[in-house]
Symmetry: C2
Amino acid sequence: MTRSELIQQIRTKKTFLCVGLDPDMSKIPRHIMEDEEDSIYEFNKLIIEATAPYCVSFKPNTAFYEAYGLSGMQSLEKTIKYINRNYPEHFIIADAKRGDIGNTSSMYATAYFKRLDTDAITVAPYMGSDSVKPFLQFENKWAVILGLTSNEGASDFQQLKVNGRELYLHVIETCAGWGNVNNTMFVIGATKAQMLAEVRKIVPEHFLLVPGVGAQGGSLEEVCKYGINKDIGLLVNSSRGIIYASGGTDFAEKAAAEAKKIADQMKQFI
Amino acid sequence: MTRSELIQQIRTKKTFLCVGLDPDMSKIPRHIMEDEEDSIYEFNKLIIEATAPYCVSFKPNTAFYEAYGLSGMQSLEKTIKYINRNYPEHFIIADAKRGDIGNTSSMYATAYFKRLDTDAITVAPYMGSDSVKPFLQFENKWAVILGLTSNEGASDFQQLKVNGRELYLHVIETCAGWGNVNNTMFVIGATKAQMLAEVRKIVPEHFLLVPGVGAQGGSLEEVCKYGINKDIGLLVNSSRGIIYASGGTDFAEKAAAEAKKIADQMKQFI
């Protein structure tokens, strides 16, 4: 998907919500687990169908599929195919946090962009240029590079001072030079919303993927206050807060309500 | 596998070679590609059988399996089962470079330690403590954390100065405090062998996984000079230099010869 298509979607639907598809079998409603052969896929389908009107993006986290082995990986494949077929206007991010030496990153890029056909993949920057650049070689595909993450451990290394400035700012500045606003985004956790102001000084035009609203405690208002730009430039993700809003037979309905609630809050910023 | 079992293996076999299993269909010999239904698995089996006497560890890189979709992941599962069944004394490292927020890293740990049953997994440290610690919760399982990698891009961030000392040394020191010598190793590229001396000042007893000997140009002598400790404390990996030593019908024989050559060089250091 191109940048202008993504912006168009956001303006038309008046939402920049991304729904995280992190299927945990211990949390999927019992009736789905009991009735369906591929319960992860069935759960995802119903979540996607229910929340699609309120979001512009879906983000399956690969860990939650790998944990269930081959059948989990099959559920991931089927889920991505389902979105591409039925909701082709939705931006699909494989939240895989990959990154390796050049020839190996190329294999990951092939796996996600060619075989699975996602629009984007999250990339870990620690190994540097040749680990990131292979993800930037595909037309209309995106690398979403970890900048400042939403978790507690983010302070361990990302916020260390390098020449008087925090490492994550250095990472963002350097990585931004490897690609452009049409193929690179950055992950900035909503739990550190005020730091978005610093990030915007370096990458005023890039899209930012912002996890951490919802279960992790981040505030949408703060994120928008410091992070929004003239093209909106944000994809705000919520996973658990939406998909596990209810553990009962009304889970899809409750997920839709939760997604709608966030989308309604987003309207004022668009 | 425990640390003492690993050391015992190294002393008994007089080798600390790790063979990287990175199957690239464009390089697997034609007769295997044409004759075998699961050519990756057949290729791996023959490589494993040929090189097992000269190494103590196998390291499949997950990218090379993910790139071939479900059938690739099935080949990975079968390969690991094959090693565990036929060569249980070999230490299996899933070279996956995973790392995510706590609940997600736990899913990856489950995928690799419980489901696939590898001894170790490589872990990317950028996201900090809660992204690494879930890999340290399994008895006799190991996190192999990226310290200083063998690729060109390693200098982009890993060698930035933090309080006058390079970031990778800070990463190693901090991560070493989260686990212990029985569940934590570090990746240090052979292409930067002299830096092993600095690493050894911080982690004198830890095992180090050293890629980059062979195709990437690192020197075994240099690695041993600066990196060896009283328990040897090294696993030196070669992938392409061994498994693609020949592209013909003699590929397994040539792989064995290449592995034997390295193992013979290792003897003097044990």
